[in-house]
């Protein structure tokens, strides 16, 4: 099918707006595929890979908007471009009513925003990774703490920012920090959890979400959740912000128990963190996802038990064994005698790693990471940097995830589809509903497919956890109480005769 490229010079828009333009363009009759991306070299490469870059496509600067349309004819392609323009025009030019500053002209720089909100204490930065470090630097110089949501920020820039922050008594949460809860305020993707006495320091956004929502489900609450970014615990960054977060929670009067979560740290960082945690005057529970020991759920349970001065409850499944056996028997009924592979299609990075490590401990041929997909049993994390360049995170828009669900279940051996569904502020308004069409397509091509999921969230979240669970259950999805339990059930389905 022929492809057309259009360029709008100096027309910057964020990835969520671009996603909307893409959707509107693809709704135009005669249009097969469309994309709207900023004209960076990375995005041009993505478009070329997708067969959406024409040979004579004009050069673009990163602030130019590049529109690509595969359509029946030029009239349809031009119609798509017009639809994109229409979508931009219909966008509210001013902030929504209720957004402070709505009456005034919107500030275009951090410096003028600071004049409009002189008591500002924190900058939440989610601009494209290419520019994010520069904005974070400006915020630190202005005396603001920084939450750096952006990913694709160079490692050297992260180290420089964190050193500068420490020298000024400031904190940098991130880069690639998806979640924080500061004094009850949810930043980025966070859940509506009650205030309480458990403090979390996390090098993992979805890990923080899983632990904080489970703590809430067990009847306790969160004092603060400090994110530090996934790379903080590497020996290169040296756990600079994790140490700072631990010290802050140790001093915080509302915090009685501290949880530290992340992926396994570098050797030097691990040794230092352990000795720091031992010196704390408060109980500190550490959990490193993928270390082969425990789960995020165990970490949440242990924190609650310490706060209540009880012994921790460690359990493989919350449901009694006969009910699990029955679930396995029922879900496995449609599966044939051949190989049974588990395919995890995730949007939460830490949850993907946790699922991968549970599969790897029990099944053969599990892919070694969560991006390449080389392995009969595998988990892919679509929130990884390589999948999010120029695109919204899969927690905001599930388009890429729906494609992967269909792709991963097209393999004749695919028997169990494993999913995470993440609720909360900033996430899609109906993440379960958004996945249903892909689940149905997967079932159509692979009859008997078992679908297992966990839903990270609380009843107080904008999406409401019970309603989301019910929607999945109505489409035959087995919803487990935690990600770890979902992965363990997937193992049972793949190996029905064991354990």
């Amino acid at each position: 099918m022929p492809v057309w490229n259009f360029v709008w010079r100096s027309a910057y828009h964020d990835s969520v707006t671009l996603m909307r333009l893409t959707r509107d363009m693809e709704a135009v009759p005669g249009v097969a595929r469309a994309a709207a991306m900023m004209g960076t070299p990375q995005n041009r490469a993505l478009l070329a890979d997708a067969g959406l870059l024409t040979e004579g496509s004009p050069d673009t600067a990163p602030a130019d908007l590049l529109i690509a349309v595969a359509a029946d004819d030029e009239m349809a392609a031009r119609g798509a471009e017009a639809a994109a323009l229409g979508a931009l025009r219909s966008r509210p030019a001013e902030p929504r009513p209720g957004l402070p500053g709505a009456a005034a002209r919107r500030p275009r720089t951090l410096a003028s925003a600071l004049r409009a909100l002189p008591d500002a204490s924190l900058a939440l930065i989610s601009v494209p990774g290419l520019y994010a470090a520069a904005e974070a630097m400006k915020a630190l110089r202005a005396g603001l703490h920084v939450m750096l949501f952006s990913d694709n920020v160079p490692l050297e820039a992260e180290i420089e920012l964190k050193r500068l922050a420490l020298s000024r008594g400031l904190v940098v949460m991130g880069p690639d920090c998806g979640t924080a809860l500061i004094d009850g305020v949810p930043l980025g993707f966070a859940n509506a959890v009650p205030r309480g006495r458990i403090g979390i320091a996390a090098a993992s956004g979805t890990g923080l979400q899983e632990v904080s929502t489970l703590v809430a489900r067990y009847g306790e609450g969160i004092s603060h959740g400090i994110g530090v970014g996934g790379r903080d615990l590497s020996d290169a960054v040296g756990g600079l912000m994790m140490s700072r977060a631990l010290a802050l929670l140790a001093e915080d009067p509302a915090t009685e128990v501290i949880c530290v979560i992340g992926k396994p740290p570098g050797a030097a960082v691990a040794a230092r963190l352990t000795s720091e945690a031992e010196r704390l005057a408060k109980p500190c529970i550490m959990h490193f996802v993928g270390s082969g020991q425990g789960s995020l759920e165990d970490c949440a349970r242990a924190a609650v038990a310490r706060a209540r001065k009880e012994g921790p409850l460690v359990t493989e499944f919350t449901l009694p064994a006969p009910e699990i056996d029955q679930l396995v028997a029922e879900a496995g009924r449609g599966l044939g005698p051949g190989p049974r592979f588990v395919r995890g299609v995730y949007c939460g990075g830490t949850l993907a790693w946790e699922a991968r490590s549970i599969l790897a401990a029990a099944l053969p041929d599990v892919a070694p990471d969560v991006t390449t997909g080389a392995g009969a049993n595998r988990v892919v994390d679509l929130g990884e940097d390589i999948f999010t360049v120029g695109r919204p995170h899969p927690m905001i828009d599930g388009t890429v995830r729906r494609e992967w669900i269909v792709r991963e279940t097209s393999d004749p051996g695919a028997a169990v589809l494993l999913l995470d569904v993440i609720l909360g502020y900033g996430a899609h308004p109906d993440p379960a509903g958004e996945l249903v069409p892909a689940i149905e397509r997967a079932r159509a091509q692979r009859p008997g497919l078992a679908v297992v999921a966990s839903v990270v969230g609380t009843e107080a979240d904008p999406q409401g956890r019970a309603a989301q669970v019910a929607k999945l259950a109505a489409h035959g999805v087995i919803v487990m109480p935690s990600n770890a339990q979902a992965a363990r059930l997937a193992v049972r389905l793949a190996r029905p005769t064991s354990g």
Binding site: V16, G98, A113, A120, V185
Partner: protein, 76 residues
């Protein structure tokens, strides 16, 4: 200037990037300002970096505004 501690009270937020984050905070009555951010100098990251090094807010803002209207800087 002594920075306020991160946990010294609910944050007041300046948000740059995804507007949905600012909208969420506003809906929860958290003081927030959303910056209508766009890349300076036609998106040249080197220029953005140089501008970030400037310490004078007003000069920085003025230069960013100028840079935003510059045509693309020729690249190698």
């Amino acid at each position: 200037v002594v920075a306020r501690g991160l946990l010294a009270g609910p944050p007041q937020v300046i948000s740059a990037g995804l507007e949905l984050f600012a909208a969420t905070l506003a809906s929860l009555d958290v003081p927030v300002i959303h910056v209508d951010w766009r890349p300076a100098g036609d998106g040249d990251p080197r220029l953005a970096r140089l501008l970030a090094e400037l310490s004078d807010d007003l000069i920085q803002e003025l230069l960013e505004e100028v840079a935003r209207h510059l045509p693309s800087i020729p690249r190698r």
